[in-house]
C-alpha cells in the first residue's frame, strides 16, 4: 500500500474480544460482525486498489445506538470509520486495522415527505435515487445525481458533497441540504437546521457537508426537492479539435446559457463508449460534447437552436439533436457507461477527479498526452465541461509489476497540473486517502492547520476517520497554541486615522 495509515494501536487490538462484547451489548444480534469472512465485504470501498479489513463491523439502527457506540469508543480511545454504501472513489471509507467500522446501512427509512415545504427528511442509508423515486409521483426529484446514484447513500453524499452531471445548474449536495442530526465522537447528539432556508449562527451544516466523515456521524438529513423540468433535450456535437470544443463551451456560457448538463469526451473515451453501447457516436472526431437543455418546452427548443448556432460557429463537424426521450437517453448512454466501457478495454483503470478553469482545458489535455507518453500508459478523458471537472481514466494492468505505481504517479502529476493551471485536486470525489498526500500541492501548512482546528472543535481526540484528508496529523493542543510573533510593535507602520 503506497499510502501510510496511522499506526495501529496494539493495546486496542489485544482487547478486541472485549470490544466486540461491549459493542454487542449496545447493538444486539447480527448488528456486530467480527468474523474475517463476513468482514471481507467491508474491506474496501469504490477505491478498490486499497483494502484493509476492520477490527470489527457494527451496524446500528438507531441514533441512540450510534451515540452509545461513539461514546464507548471515545472513552476507550478506539478509532471509528463511518461508512454509507461504500461507493467512495477516494477511499473515504477504507477501514483501519484497529478501528471500528460503523456502517449506516440500516438507516434506510425516509422519515417524512413534506411537499408544502419542498423537503424530504431521510435517514442516511437511503440511496440518492430512492429519494427521487419517493417523490416522483408528485413531479418532484432530488437534484444532485452522482453517477453511482442507484447505490450511493444520501449520508455518503453529504459526507463527500457529491456532485453529478447536473450540478452546474442545480448545485452540489451542499446547495441542496438544509439540516441534519449528527452524533459527535463524544456521543453527543445535535440537531442542525431544519426546513427553513438557512440556519442561525455559524453555518455548521455547510462545513459538515464534504467533511468526509471526519467531523461526526450523520443519522438524519433534510434535503430540498425540486419540481422536475417539463422537458429535456440534448445535442451531441463533434469537433475535429479539442480546442474548438473548449471554445464552444466558453461561448455557450458567455451567451448566458447554463445547460442542465454539458459533458465532453475525448477520442479514446468516445471509442471505448461506442464499442460498448453503440450510441451512434461519431468516431472520426477528437472531442464530443453532449449538451442537455432542460425546462419548459418552449425554452428548451429556443436554447437548442441557440446552442446549435454557437456550435456551428465553433466549427463543429457533426451535430445531432435529440427528438425523443429514447434518443436523448441514447446520447447519454455512452457517457454514463464511460467508466465500465473503459473497463472493457483495459484490465484496470484509475479515475481521477481534478477541476480546472474551463479555459485551461486544451492546456490540460495536452499535458495529459505528454504524461501518457512519459508513463507509457493510456488515458481516456471524460469531463464535466460546464464546471471544469476533469475525469481522466488512466489505463493500467495491476498484474503487471510496477504498473499500479506508474498509474498512481501519472494521476498525481495530472492533479498537480490541475493546481498549476489554477484548479483544485478534487471536484467531487473527495480527498480521502487517494489525494491526501497531495494536499500540500494546494494548501500551505497554515491552511491545513486551520482546517484541522475545525476538526478539533468536533473531535478533539482525532478518533473519527483518522488518516483521511490530512497528510500530517497534529495534536489539538499543539494546533491551539498561539505562537508569539516576537519583536512586533503595536500596529507598526500602518496608517492610522
Amino acid at each position: 500500500m503506497a499510502i501510510m495509515m496511522p499506526a495501529s494501536d496494539q493495546a486496542v487490538l489485544t482487547r478486541r474480544a472485549e470490544i466486540v462484547a461491549a459493542l454487542r451489548a449496545i447493538v444486539p444480534g447480527e448488528g456486530v460482525i467480527d468474523s474475517a469472512a463476513e468482514m471481507r465485504a467491508y474491506e474496501s470501498d469504490g477505491l478498490t486498489a486499497y483494502r484493509q479489513p476492520p477490527m470489527v463491523v457494527v451496524l446500528p439502527d438507531t441514533t441512540e445506538q450510534v451515540s452509545l457506540i461513539l461514546k464507548y469508543c471515545a472513552g476507550q480511545g478506539i478509532k471509528v470509520v463511518p461508512r454509507g454504501s461504500g461507493t467512495s472513489l477516494s477511499g473515504g471509507a477504507l477501514p483501519l486495522e484497529d478501528g471500528v467500522l460503523l456502517g449506516l446501512g440500516k438507516f434506510k427509512r425516509i422519515r417524512e415527505i413534506d411537499f408544502d415545504n419542498r423537503v424530504v427528511v431521510t435517514e442516511p442509508g437511503v440511496t440518492n435515487l430512492a429519494i427521487s423515486q419517493a417523490v416522483a409521483h408528485a413531479g418532484f426529484y432530488y437534484a444532485p445525481d452522482p453517477s453511482s446514484q442507484i447505490a450511493c447513500s444520501i449520508g455518503g453524499n453529504v459526507a463527500e458533497n457529491s456532485g453529478g452531471v447536473h450540478c452546474l445548474k442545480y448545485g452540489m449536495t451542499t446547495n441542496n441540504v438544509l439540516g441534519c442530526e449528527i452524533v459527535l465522537m463524544s456521543g453527543e447528539i445535535l440537531r442542525i437546521g431544519g426546513k427553513g432556508c438557512e440556519n442561525p449562527g455559524y453555518d455548521l451544516m455547510g462545513v459538515i457537508t464534504g467533511s468526509e466523515g471526519l467531523l461526526g456521524v450523520i443519522t438524519e438529513i433534510t434535503v430540498r426537492i425540486l419540481q422536475k423540468p417539463e422537458t429535456a433535450r440534448a445535442l451531441m456535437v463533434g469537433f475535429a479539435q479539442v480546442e474548438a470544443a473548449g471554445e464552444c463551451v466558453a461561448r455557450i456560457i458567455g451567451a448566458g446559457i447554463i445547460p442542465g448538463g454539458m459533458e465532453m469526451m475525448d477520442k479514446p473515451a468516445i471509442h471505448a463508449a461506442e464499442a460498448f453501447v453503440h450510441a451512434g457516436y461519431p468516431l472520426d472526431v477528437e472531442a464530443l460534447l453532449i449538451i442537455e437543455l432542460d425546462g419548459p418546452k418552449i425554452e428548451v427548443d429556443e436554447l437548442i437552436s441557440r446552442v446549435e448556432a454557437i456550435a456551428n460557429g465553433c466549427g463543429s463537424t457533426t451535430c445531432q439533436i435529440s427528438t425523443s426521450e429514447a434518443e436523448r437517453n441514447l446520447f447519454w448512454a455512452g457517457r454514463k457507461a464511460a467508466f465500465p466501457a473503459v473497463g472493457r478495454i483495459s484490465p484496470d483503470y484509475l479515475c481521477m477527479d481534478g477541476t480546472i478553469p474551463r479555459g485551461a482545458l486544451p492546456k490540460a489535455l495536452a499535458r495529459i498526452r505528454e504524461l501518457s507518453e512519459k508513463y507509457q500508459l493510456g488515458c481516456a478523458n471524460v469531463f464535466h465541461a460546464g464546471d471544469g471537472n476533469l475525469h481522466p481514466l488512466i489505463l493500467y494492468d495491476a498484474n503487471k509489476p510496477g504498473e499500479i505505481e506508474r498509474a498512481e504517479a501519472f494521476g498525481a502529476d495530472i492533479l498537480r497540473a490541475c493546481v498549476e493551471f489554477g484548479g483544485v485536486l478534487t471536484g467531487e470525489h473527495g480527498v480521502g486517502i487517494e489525494k491526501r498526500d497531495l494536499m500540500p500541492e494546494m494548501f500551505s501548512e497554515i491552511d491545513l492547520n486551520q482546517q484541522q482546528r475545525l476538526k478539533c472543535a468536533f473531535d478533539a481526540q482525532g478518533l473519527l476517520n483518522p488518516g483521511k484528508v490530512f497528510p500530517t496529523l497534529h495534536r489539538c493542543a499543539e494546533l491551539g497554541r498561539m505562537h508569539v510573533h516576537a519583536g512586533k510593535l503595536a500596529f507598526p507602520d500602518i496608517p492610522r486615522f
Binding site: L204, H384, V424, I494, F497
Partner: protein, 412 residues
C-alpha cells in the same frame, strides 16, 4: 478611537498579531454600513479594510470574480452587470433599513450573508463564495476553497466565513460565483389575499414546475401606500402577493401564462414586466416599506426565517399580538416584522412564535439600548452553542475579532 487602515493582507496580519500581543480586540469594518447590527463590540480599535478595494480578476466565461474584501459592492455590481451577469443570491442592501448612506463592501456582504428574494432558488451568499483568503485570530493568513465552481478539496471553510459577522477571520480576498442575468422577468400580482391564502398561493406556485424565482406577500397595510419602487402597483395599501418568473423572454411569458391558470382559484393575477418588476423586487429585497426614513423608521425590525408553509400562521399571530407590520418573502420562509417600539422589541413573543415552528429570529434593527437588553441573534440550543464556540475559538482563541458582536455577555 484608533482606526487602522490596512493596505494589504500583510498589514492585516501585522495588525492582528499586534492586537493579540496587546490583548486589544479589533472591530473589523469595510464601509461600516452594518455596524448597527449586532451587539456593541467590546473594543474601541477599528481595523478598516476598505482600502483593499481592487478587483483581482474577473473572468465572465469562467463564471467567477476574485475581489479584495473591501471592494465597493456598488462598483462590483455595475462591473458584472456590464457583462450581463449578477450575483444570483440577490444580496440585499441594508442601507435603507438602517439609514446608512452606502451599499457597503463585498466583505460586508459575505460576512452578513443577507440574501434576497432569489434565495429560494439560487441559494445564499454561502452558496456563491467559492474561495477566500483571510487572516485568522492567530494572526495567520490562510486560504480556503479555490477559484473554480466545483471543488471539494478539504473542509469548506467558506461556508463558515459567510454569515460569521467578522468573528472568525478577516477576509482579505474572495472568489465568488457569478451567473448570467435573466433575459426577461415577469411578475404575477394577486391582490387582496389574506396571509393564509397568500401563503397557500405561494406554496402552490413554488411547488409547480414553472420555476418561480421569488414569491413574496405584502399584507394589507396603511404604511406602505407610497413606498418607492411600488409605483402605482401599491394602490391604497391593499394586500399584494407577487411571484416572479425569469429566463428567456418566450419562456418567462409562457410560464407566466401557465402560473396564472394554476393560481386562478386565488383570483385573477395581473402581470408586471421587466423594469417595473425589478423595481418591485428591489423594494422587497431591501425592505423599503420599513425604511429608516419612513413612517415605521423608529420601529425595531426582526428578520424571521421559518419553514415556508408555516409563515402565515406565525406572522398573523405575531402581528395580532404586537400590532406589528409584516412583509413575507421566500414563499413565507422569511418574515420581516416591524413591531411597535418596546424595551425588549417584543423578543419573547417573536422567539416563542419562531421557535414553535422550527424557525429563528434576528433583531436586525433596534436602538442600541434595546440591543443591550435583548439577544440580537437567535439563541442556540446548548450543544450547538458549545460547538459553535469551539469552532470560533479554533479561528480566534483570544477573541480578538469583533468581540461581543454575536452574543450578549460580560464582555459586551
Amino acid at each position: 478611537m484608533d482606526t487602522l487602515r490596512v493596505r494589504d493582507a500583510k498589514d492585516v496580519e501585522e495588525a492582528v498579531r499586534a492586537a493579540i500581543a496587546n490583548e486589544q480586540p479589533l472591530e473589523i469594518i469595510g464601509h461600516g454600513t452594518k455596524r448597527g447590527i449586532g451587539h456593541a463590540m467590546a473594543t474601541n480599535a477599528v481595523l478598516d479594510v476598505s482600502a483593499l478595494s481592487a478587483v483581482t480578476s474577473y473572468e465572465p466565461n469562467e463564471l467567477i470574480i476574485t475581489l479584495q474584501a473591501g471592494a465597493p459592492l456598488a462598483d462590483v455590481l455595475s462591473l458584472i452587470d456590464s457583462k450581463n451577469q449578477q450575483f444570483a443570491f440577490e444580496p440585499m442592501s441594508t442601507a435603507p433599513l438602517l439609514g446608512t448612506p452606502a451599499l457597503g463592501t463585498i466583505g460586508g456582504m459575505i460576512a452578513a450573508g443577507l440574501a434576497g428574494p432569489r434565495r429560494i432558488k439560487a441559494g445564499g451568499a454561502r452558496d456563491h463564495l467559492l474561495g477566500a483568503h483571510a487572516v485568522s485570530g492567530f494572526g495567520d493568513s490562510f486560504k480556503t476553497g479555490g477559484k473554480v465552481v466545483k471543488n471539494v478539496t478539504g473542509y469548506d471553510l467558506c461556508k463558515l466565513l459567510a454569515g460569521s459577522w467578522g468573528t472568525l477571520a478577516v477576509m482579505t480576498e474572495v472568489t465568488l460565483k457569478v451567473m448570467p442575468k435573466p433575459e426577461a422577468e415577469r411578475t404575477l400580482l394577486l391582490r387582496g389575499l389574506d396571509d393564509a391564502a397568500a401563503n397557500k398561493a405561494m406554496t402552490a406556485a413554488l411547488g409547480s414546475p414553472f420555476d418561480v424565482s421569488a414569491a413574496a406577500h405584502l399584507p394589507k397595510s396603511a404604511f406602505r401606500a407610497t413606498t418607492e419602487g411600488l409605483g402605482d402597483i401599491a394602490g391604497e395599501g391593499e394586500a399584494l402577493t407577487v411571484l416572479r418568473l425569469e429566463g428567456i423572454t418566450a419562456s418567462a411569458a409562457h410560464r407566466a401564462g401557465s402560473l396564472l391558470e394554476l393560481l386562478a382559484p386565488f383570483g385573477t393575477a395581473t402581470l408586471v414586466e421587466d423594469a417595473a418588476s425589478s423595481a418591485l423586487w428591489a423594494t422587497i429585497r431591501d425592505v423599503l416599506p420599513f425604511a429608516a426614513s419612513r413612517a415605521l423608521g423608529a420601529w425595531p425590525v426582526w428578520r424571521i426565517v421559518c419553514p415556508p408553509a408555516s409563515g402565515a400562521a406565525l406572522g398573523t399571530q405575531l402581528a395580532r399580538e404586537t400590532g406589528g407590520e409584516l412583509i413575507y418573502d421566500w414563499g413565507g420562509g422569511l418574515i420581516w416584522a416591524a413591531l411597535p417600539p418596546k424595551g425588549d422589541a417584543h423578543a419573547p413573543a417573536v422567539r416563542m412564535r419562531a421557535g414553535a415552528v422550527g424557525g429563528h429570529a434576528m433583531l436586525i434593527r433596534a436602538a442600541e439600548d434595546v440591543r443591550h437588553s435583548v439577544d440580537v441573534f437567535h439563541p442556540q440550543a446548548p450543544g450547538i452553542a458549545a460547538l459553535s464556540e469551539r469552532v470560533r475559538a479554533g479561528f480566534d482563541p483570544k477573541t480578538i475579532l469583533n468581540r461581543g458582536r454575536l452574543m450578549r455577555g460580560p464582555a459586551a
